[in-house]
């Protein structure tokens, strides 16, 4: 099935200052769009807004020609959002965190093993999250992309702290998603690493 994400004149303020203004783009199945810009330029805020976690002051976001503000539940079923903060509990192990997420989001529990295998997390799945390295934490966070079969990926710095091997695994996952008519909006400081993108939005 073909999907479409349309962003129309998206504008957000922080106090009296524009964080970003009049951002518009259309993303169709098989498209990848990159958001770049210096620290504090609003990349994370834009992704959170597109995810429906923030209300834009001006502008509209629509999914399959329906505004997400009236259609939030259906929209959320179709997205996978990976924040720059991992969203996993420090005191719980990777497997405990993933079981919780699987039950909360109605993921298939069988997919947990597949996700752990793919991201080479099986040997460390029982270690408390707080004892993992930054790269291992990032890989654990990326398991959500395998657990949930969603059309739209919203990724905030997904490759930060990843080693070459994990970076390649992520690129494989992304390419497979795009090849299977998925959509992706990705915030990064390294746009050169994603040569298959449709366009780049540069925030200042």
């Amino acid at each position: 099935m073909s999907n479409q994400l349309a962003i129309n004149n998206l504008t957000l303020f922080r106090g009296a200052k524009y964080l970003f203004k009049d951002i518009s783009f259309v993303l169709s199945s098989g498209d990848l769009i990159l958001i770049t810009g210096p620290n504090g330029s609003g990349k994370t805020t834009m992704l959170r807004t597109i995810a429906g976690l923030l209300e834009p002051e001006i502008g509209d976001i629509s999914w399959d020609q329906k505004s997400i503000s009236n259609n939030r539940q259906t929209y959320h079923k179709n997205i996978s959002f990976i924040s720059h903060i991992h969203g996993l509990k420090d005191s719980l192990s990777i497997i405990e965190n993933l079981r919780f997420e699987a039950n909360l989001h109605n993921y298939c529990l069988d997919k947990i093993d597949e996700a752990l295998d793919k991201l080479s997390l099986q040997p460390i799945k029982d270690i408390p999250f707080k004892h993992l390295s930054a790269g291992q934490k990032r890989r654990a966070s990326l398991t959500r992309l395998i657990l949930k079969d969603s059309a739209l990926w919203l990724l905030d710095e997904p490759t930060s702290n990843l080693d070459t091997n994990a970076h390649n695994i992520f690129k494989e996952l992304l390419n497979e998603h795009i090849y299977n008519n998925g959509l992706c909006v990705l915030a990064t400081h390294h746009p050169d690493a994603f040569d298959e993108c449709k366009s780049i939005i540069e925030l200042t």
């Binding site: 976690l53 923030l54 719980l92 997420e101 109605n106």
Partner: protein, 230 residues
């Protein structure tokens, strides 16, 4: 609503409840600190005042209830703030489960970790204050309804302040006035029982207050969390 939807709702509630309980078990300080505070202060009072039986039985219910509320206030800040800080709150809001149901699961887990230990330890405090066994049972009944109501009311204050750093005092200021009826009826019900008067109306009021809080607290907290996470 069909059966699969019910199962899904139940699985979301269970997942949130189990995760929070597991967290409290793995971070015992969150569970023990307020409990130790409650026990230490309530046990210290008899040393500071005239420890005759009459005096202790008169001041006991009030002290126990004041300390229960104060120790509860210590636990409220962490109810949602940890989820906001580590990014879990975003994923909870994005989940297909109704947010008020997940909030209720968190409140239940909070009561298990904060209210239930108080109830379990309260007979020892009752003995220190020279209460009779039947008075201790009445105290347990008031604590049961009262602490659950405290978790429900406290949830609103905690959710309203997730975007504010060091919000413990603010949470206390917000929720303390709404907790005062629980304090009055909790302490007076025990006191009246000791004086030989009927207590059932006090217990009715506390259970009604608890049900009233149950009817709106998960919805108010969920709305506040959505606004606070922006």
């Amino acid at each position: 609503m069909n059966k699969s939807n019910n199962t899904s709702l139940l699985s979301g509630f269970n997942a949130m409840f189990r995760r929070d309980c597991l967290q409290y078990i793995k971070n015992p300080s969150q569970l023990l600190n307020p409990l130790i505070f409650f026990v230490m202060i309530t046990a210290a009072f008899p040393f500071a005042v005239d420890s005759s039986k009459l005096q202790l039985t008169q001041i006991g219910p009030g002290i126990i209830w004041i300390m229960a509320i104060l120790s509860y206030l210590l636990t409220l800040q962490h109810l949602y703030l940890d989820d906001a800080d580590d990014g879990c709150l975003d994923y909870i809001i994005l989940s297909p489960q109704p947010l008020p149901l997940l909030v209720l699961a968190k409140i239940c887990a909070h009561w298990i970790s904060s209210g239930l230990p108080l109830i379990i330890i309260s007979p020892i405090i009752g003995i220190i204050y020279q209460m009779q066994v039947d008075t201790i049972l009445v105290m347990i009944a008031t604590l049961f309804f009262g602490t659950f109501a405290l978790s429900l009311i406290g949830s609103i204050g905690a959710s309203l302040t997730i975007s504010i750093n060091n919000s413990n005092i603010l949470v206390s200021l917000l929720v303390l006035p709404i907790m005062i009826p629980i304090l009055i009826f909790g302490a007076r019900t025990i006191g009246l029982y000791q004086a030989g008067t009927t207590t059932i109306s006090g217990l009715y009021f506390m259970s009604a207050y608890c049900m009233f809080a149950l009817s709106f607290s998960p919805f108010a907290s969920a709305a506040a969390l959505k606004i606070g996470s922006e």
